[in-house]
Amino acid sequence: MNIVIASGKGGTGKTTVAVNLAYVASREGFKVSYVDADVDEPNGHIFLKPIINRSKPVELLMPEVNMDKCIGCGKCGEICQYGAIVYVGEKVEVFPRLCHGCGGCYLVCPTGAITEAPKKVGVIESGITSGDEPAGNFPFYQGILNIGEVSTTRVIDDLIDEIPDDTTLNFIDAAPGTSCPMVRVAQEADIVLLVTEPTPFGMSDLRLTIDIVKELKKPMLAFVNQYDIGQFNELQRYLQLQRVPISGKLPHSRGIAQLYSEGLLIGKQLDWVYKVFKELLDRVTSRIKG
């Protein structure tokens, strides 16, 4: 079962909820995995401290041009929608940063002057978490986009292929925002857990997120972080109207912020927080069953 943890706004506590929920579920005896799909800035590893035992490159096929065979027909440039290959001044110019690796130029080249070679744009890593309680450890997966590359969704697609099957509770940490990277991950969800905060920015981004998850027809639950810092009543009313139940909340707390800042699992360090996530887990699992 795939539980996708999402938020429109960044920094609302998505990763905190994902890693702690995975940890608590593992302690409660569930078969669990954690998948970090925020491939631009994956941070789950800071809290789960995985031992990585497998690393698989994410590759895009990029065109390479043999000018000896080129007859200057310009078909490669015509089919490319990304401006990544052009024929100018009797030369074919390739711009790897713009290339999406669709293979169009390679397919239309009438003389076989274009071949394709893989270029590494990221990596998929897998391993197991390394906490000191054996019952609290579980498989860990993350995608990492190489700096300077733009193929975020390609890394996500390869990562999605690694997600364990339905017998495991997979906690998937999505990218912030509402565009392609977030939607690709949300498509895989059995349930989407929205992490939000009761601030104007938080609520504005939450609205956009709920709209897209509704379009995907996925069931939703909400978790409110720092519920006591802003306009909780307004947030509650809005979620009620949208029929998205609030399945848990945490207050603003310096203690939590400090543990988080040092990369510690708040659910492991604080008993009362463990209980908050245990309750959240119960609600998530009963929602999936229902």
């Binding site: 631009d40 169009g104 986009l145 565009s179 920015f201 956009l208 802003g230 800042s261």
Partner: protein, 295 residues
């Protein structure tokens, strides 16, 4: 004309609140919100009577079920897994192929190679660009429709528009609020900017993301400095970021304190420096002075 870009890698470090305050302090400025996925600056700017432009991103393919002969060529060549064999039947074939728009990256190969000309490949309205004036000056922002591709291209449009406004009205400065992450829209936000301010938070996640975003800035040749927001939440890690900055020859602009007034200002739709004379407002003013001199 100078362009300052404010970014953070990690979301939620306080970037947007700081940008709004800079816009107040700079006075003669065009502000560009490049977080086209989840734009928030307009909540503070509260601009009315804005103009809007349509944004056409990548073209998108659509299979016309009546013409499809279910040969499967499109599915074979699509590298994005966007073609599904679950389209409606058409009398001759019980099922046809279908393009899932959320997965389509707009390469157009399916349309090009379809022997039956059964695939349309058309312009696709994928967002809106807004621009106008408010009490905080000119704001350009945009909204990419949910699930759409090509936020990088829309970001480029936002910056183009901001430059055009600045040129027309003879405004010497553009402040750009970049989206989180290090991918396409972030790259599009930083290329050619004069200076970048990284807003970090004092957490190991914040430091990790700050390092990645700094690598990105370096590879695009944009000089940068870092400020730690909410520093007093974890002074030890704030010091770690300071050490990291020294080791990497990144200008360290010091620290901003955590202050609940930042959220209260947001609720009042005000920039932090407009809201109250707080310590954090004072520190933002000092930070702005330093940046102004660099620019």
């Amino acid at each position: 004309m100078k362009e300052l870009v404010v970014l953070s890698g990690k979301g939620g470090t306080g970037k947007t609140s700081i940008v709004a305050s800079f816009s107040v302090l700079a006075k003669d400025v065009v502000t560009a919100d490049c977080d086209v996925d989840a734009p928030d600056l307009n909540i503070i700017f509260d601009a009315t009577n804005e103009m809007e432009d349509n944004f056409y991103g990548m073209k998108k393919a659509r299979i016309m079920p009546g013409h499809c002969i279910a040969c499967g060529k499109c599915e074979e060549i699509c590298r994005y897994g966007a073609i599904y064999f679950d389209g409606p039947g058409n009398g001759r074939y019980p099922k046809t192929y279908r393009v899932e728009p959320l997965n389509c990256e707009g390469c157009g190969l399916c349309a090009y190679f379809c022997a039956e000309n059964a695939i349309e490949f058309k312009e696709n309205l994928s967002g809106k660009l807004y621009f106008g004036k408010s009490r905080l000056g000119n704001l350009v922002h945009a909204r990419l429709f949910a699930g759409e591709e090509n936020s990088g291209k829309l970001v480029a449009k936002v910056r183009e528009r901001a430059k055009a406004v600045a040129e027309r009205e003879n405004i010497p400065l553009i402040i750009t609020d970049a989206p989180p992450g290090v991918g396409c829209p972030v790259i599009s936000s930083i290329t050619g900017a004069d200076y970048a301010l990284i807003v970090a938070e004092p957490t190991l996640s914040g430091l990790h993301d700050c390092e990645r975003v700094h690598q990105l800035l370096n590879s695009f040749g944009v000089p940068s400095g870092v400020v730690v927001n909410k520093a007093d939440i974890a002074p030890k890690i704030s010091r770690k970021i300071e050490d990291w900055a020294k080791d990497n020859e990144v200008t360290f602009f010091g620290e901003l304190p955590y202050d609940p007034d930042v959220t209260l200002a947001q609720i009042e739709k005000k920039a932090v420096v407009e809201y109250k004379d707080t310590e954090v407002a004072e520190e933002i003013k000092k930070l702005w002075e330093k940046l102004r001199q660099i620019l």
